[in-house]
């Protein structure tokens, strides 16, 4: 990767779309499943936008959006409403999308990055997904076909403030958002299936070196470039990096950057222009007259609040603090709710049985022991059995150590002259002598004890 010019600081805002996994669609009772279904099999007058059809909001989808907002520490709007956003596209059967404009369900949330920085979330709102276009050759004719199975599936949109400055934090945030949706069981947030979609708005601003990177000193530039249609975390990270490089080059040459939507080509690792945004679209938003405004009473919020679980970032912090895990291990264990729960049980059991906790966690993470044993109890029982049958007696260990110290004189003198890695060689030799019995820690302790004499 090319180095990023430190004179410019990237300003990144994110828009994340997550399809909710409700049984029914957002405004009708059609089955919301659209992956691997026969085209147009889950449709009705409402999601096809037929003459006379009307929307009837899905309560569960609204509650799940509020739940997600609460998990992000958002304020829940007591009065909110749906609005119509107008644009013409063949996959939008009504000529408008029902979404939320100025009164979203959730406002002003925050997320804490692994290194303790807080990022502001502007809003979380609910809307309907569009149909899907398929461009196909039928016979010798090029055809564009529309599948409306996805039309009207509840789609939650999260918008952050433009407060990210590096691709790593963006990635960590997006992973946490994905994990959170899974923790709350409101979406599988699957990138491959399109149930989680990412957009990043990127611009660069010059920083005054003396002032440093402080949010107060950052002036928002008068343009932004939207990166769209990127279907993996890795590609997004690469795309952001490529875009920062592109913009830096343009700015260094004194050129102005065009406001536009760009895609990412993974072959060339570069972004390309998709749609110019110079003429800003007028969506002619106005309140959806077919849906009464929505009142979410405090009592309702309190009920939804009961469904909250510890967020991935809170859990990660707790794992580091409570269990002394590394950032990396904490990250791995919190990325999956079940794995985290397995770990916590396992941790308590290792304490109870006086096992080497760190070693057990290693086995779990690096050797996937949790996949071998469906329950932590099973794993611990197996470990206890192995240790019992495999531990050498003190006598056997003493003998093996003294034999190795005699036969491996070179290594012993190397160690004594300060070559620490000779110790590893000696541990291996003892272990071989014991035909694999005994654990490295015990052997190591015995060796250093003998060598120190």
């Amino acid at each position: 990767m090319k180095k990023i010019n430190p004179e410019y600081i990237p300003i990144i805002g994110l828009e994340v779309h997550i399809e909710l996994n409700t049984k029914r669609k957002m405004f009708c009772r059609c089955c919301a499943e659209h992956f691997l279904q026969a085209a147009n099999s889950n449709t009705c007058p409402t999601c096809l936008g037929l003459p006379g059809a009307m929307p009837y909001p899905n309560k569960t989808a609204i509650e799940n959006t509020v739940l997600f907002g609460l998990a992000l520490g958002c304020k829940i709007n007591k009065y909110s409403k749906f609005d119509r956003k107008h644009y013409f596209y063949p996959d939008l059967p009504k000529g408008y999308q029902i979404t939320q404009y100025d009164l979203p369900f959730c406002l002003n949330g925050k997320w804490e990055s692994p290194d303790g920085k807080f990022y502001q979330i502007r809003r979380v709102h609910l809307e309907e997904d569009t149909g899907k276009l398929q461009h196909k050759n039928i016979g010798d004719k090029k055809m564009s076909l529309i599948d409306f199975n996805r039309s009207g599936v509840p789609l939650m949109e999260l918008v952050t403030e433009p407060s990210f400055h590096n691709p790593d934090d963006v990635l960590a945030f997006l992973k946490d958002i994905q994990t959170l949706a899974r923790y709350l069981q409101i979406s599988n947030a699957d990138m491959e299936k399109g149930s989680m979609r990412l957009e990043a708005n990127i611009s660069l601003t010059k920083i005054t070196k003396q002032l440093g990177i402080d949010e107060k000193n950052i002036k928002l530039p008068d343009y932004k470039v939207e990166l769209k249609n990127i279907n993996s975390f890795r590609f997004l990270k690469n795309a952001i990096h490529a875009e920062i490089v592109r913009q830096t080059n343009l700015l260094s040459r004194g050129e102005k950057i065009k406001q536009e939507t760009r895609g990412y080509d993974e072959q060339t690792n570069s972004t390309y222009s998709q749609r110019s945004k110079e003429n800003v679209k007028d969506y002619r938003y106005f309140p959806e007259p077919d849906i009464p405004s929505i009142v979410i009473e405090d009592e309702t919020v309190a009920i939804i609040q009961k469904r909250l679980v510890e967020s991935p970032w809170e859990k990660r912090k707790r794992y580091i603090k409570e269990f002394g895990l590394s950032q990396n291990y904490a990250q791995i264990l919190t990325s999956d709710l079940n794995r985290g729960a397995y770990f916590e049980k396992l941790y308590r059991l290792t304490k109870k049985h006086h096992l080497n906790t760190k070693k057990v966690v290693d086995l779990m993470i690096n050797k996937n022991y949790d996949q071998k044993f469906p329950t932590p109890q099973g794993l611990v029982l197996d470990l206890l059995k192995t240790i019992k049958t495999q531990s050498p007696s003190d006598e056997q260990l003493d003998r093996a150590v003294s034999e190795v110290l005699i036969s491996q004189r070179k290594a012993v003198s190397d160690y004594k002259s300060g070559k620490e890695n000779a110790l590893g060689f000696l541990i291996g030799a003892v272990s071989r002598k014991l035909s694999g019995k005994g654990d490295a820690m015990t052997i190591r302790d015995k060796l250093t004890e003998s060598l120190g004499k």
Partner: protein
């Protein structure tokens, strides 16, 4: 062939074996065959399915006798449908060539409820395309004519529905009222027209014009028939989220009716004004209390209406983008185009606050004003139209003049309150005259009750158009 004058009488005729449902249907279809080319009220006839329904009605009645009405309270009630109403497997055009060959795959809630109660659907009626108009002249299938005098308009937009009732082509009809589209043609044709409270009857399956104003309603020969149709269709259906169930208010023995001075200004035609005075004195002589009230904001209702309505029209018509339904946007006639452009303009960035938001604020004020006045009286009496029926072509070239025909009807839509148009007399030119009652939200029963009492004491009912 004796055709019933109302449902009550039809039940009696059936019960006394003086006629059958099939015979009644024969009678209606005969009249349609004979006269509809003169008035152009039907776009699609549902002959086959209506006979099937009629035969079933006869069979059910012969099996169950009077008990059949417990299960099917509107058994054999012959109804026509404004062509905005989706009915399964029936062509539904909204009188626009854009939907010329569109067949709805589903029933609107109103249709499915009437069907479930035993109604027979005889056909789909002509109207102003997309319900845009006050005269019936904006239909892409030719204007409907007033059966009282073919040179006159029947009123719109539910022109064919009103005509079908006054011509005895059916016993009642469904309409939609966004700014007067039921009451105006009811008034011009001499039948009862109900515009219910917004949110009383589901709009699901009825082609939308302006959603926050649109109401599903009815044409009938009597307020009692309108009442039956209202009660059969009202209430939550799980498809229209704006519908609520409200227990109707208790009826009274004496009602206070308000008359607003704003409704009797110089803009009102003398015949309309005199008739209103005559109705008021009839009411007064029959135990009603008349009270002067003031509705100064009413005059702004039409301005508010011509912001909100086109805004919502432009949005609701966006789906006819040429991708589906077979016909592209060039099939839209001038009035639809006019409203799409006007609506798109008022919703545009930079204009939205000045037009739409401001109109919504004034709308709130108008609602407050009606709520305040309707706290003092049980109903407000008003003219339906400032003039009796006007001539075909008289206002067609002047959209603004046409828009002003709605001046007394739009306020009820802006406020979302119920209104009932009642025929009461004829003009010197032998054209119908009438008035409307405006009521409190969800107090339709009070309006029916007042109308019922009036009908029983009125000596000058216009009767039916004589088609010769």
């Amino acid at each position: 062939m004796k055709l019933p004058i109302n449902y009550q009488q039809q039940k009696k005729l059936i019960s006394e074996k003086k006629t059958t449902h099939v015979e009644i249907l024969d009678g209606y279809l005969e009249r349609i065959e004979k006269y509809d080319k003169k008035v152009n009220s039907f776009l699609t006839l549902m002959k086959e399915s209506s006979y099937k329904q009629a035969r079933l009605c006869d069979k059910l009645f012969s099996e169950l006798g009077e008990d059949v009405y417990k299960k099917y309270p509107l058994l054999g009630f012959v109804v026509s449908l404004k062509d905005l109403y989706a009915a399964e497997s029936v062509r539904t055009t909204a009188s626009s060539k854009v939907l010329d060959d569109y067949t709805s795959p589903y029933d609107s809630t109103a249709v499915s409820r009437l069907r479930a109660d035993g109604c027979i659907f005889i056909g789909k009626t002509n109207c102003d395309a997309w319900a845009h108009g006050s005269s019936g002249e904006n239909s892409d299938y030719g204007p409907t004519k007033n059966p009282w005098n073919f040179d006159f308009v029947p009123g719109g937009s539910s022109s064919g529905s009103a005509v079908s009732v006054t011509c005895d082509f059916c016993l009642a009809s469904t309409g939609t009222d966004t700014g007067g589209s039921i009451r105006l043609p009811a008034n011009f044709c001499g039948v009862v027209g109900l515009k219910p409270t917004w949110g009383a009857i589901s709009r699901y399956g009825v082609v939308a014009m302006a959603s926050s104003l649109d109401c599903v309603g009815f044409f009938a020969n009597s307020s009692e028939d309108a009442r039956s149709l209202f009660n059969a269709t009202k209430g939550i259906d799980g498809f229209d989220a704006t519908v609520t169930n409200v227990t109707p208010a208790k009826l009274k023995n004496d009602y206070t009716i308000g008359i607003a001075k704003e409704y009797l200004n110089d803009g009102v035609n003398p015949q309309v004004k005199n008739e209103l005075k005559r109705v008021i004195s009839t009411l007064e002589n029959n135990g009603f209390t008349i009270k002067d009230v003031s509705l100064p904001l009413t005059e702004h209702a039409i301005s508010v209406y011509y912001i909100i309505q086109p805004a919502e029209v432009s949005s609701n018509l966006a789906r006819y983008d040429g991708v589906r339904y077979g016909h592209d946007r060039s099939y839209f006639a001038p009035e639809a185009k006019r409203r799409i452009i006007l609506g798109t303009h008022v919703l545009s960035e930079g204009y939205y606050d000045a037009f739409y938001i401001k109109a919504m604020k004034v709308r709130e004020k108008i609602i407050e004003e009606f709520d305040r006045v309707l706290n003092e009286v049980d109903a407000i009496i008003a003219p339906v139209s400032p003039t009796p029926p006007f001539k075909l072509g008289e206002k067609a070239q002047d959209p603004l003049q046409m828009y002003l025909a709605d001046i007394y009807t739009v306020a009820a839509n802006i406020a979302g309150i119920p209104a009932l148009a009642i025929p009461s007399n004829i003009t010197t030119q032998n054209l119908p005259l009438g008035f409307q009652l405006l009521g409190k939200r969800f107090n339709e029963e009070v309006l029916f009750d007042i109308a019922n009492k009036f009908e029983s004491v009125n000596t000058k009912h216009p009767g039916k158009a004589q088609l010769l």
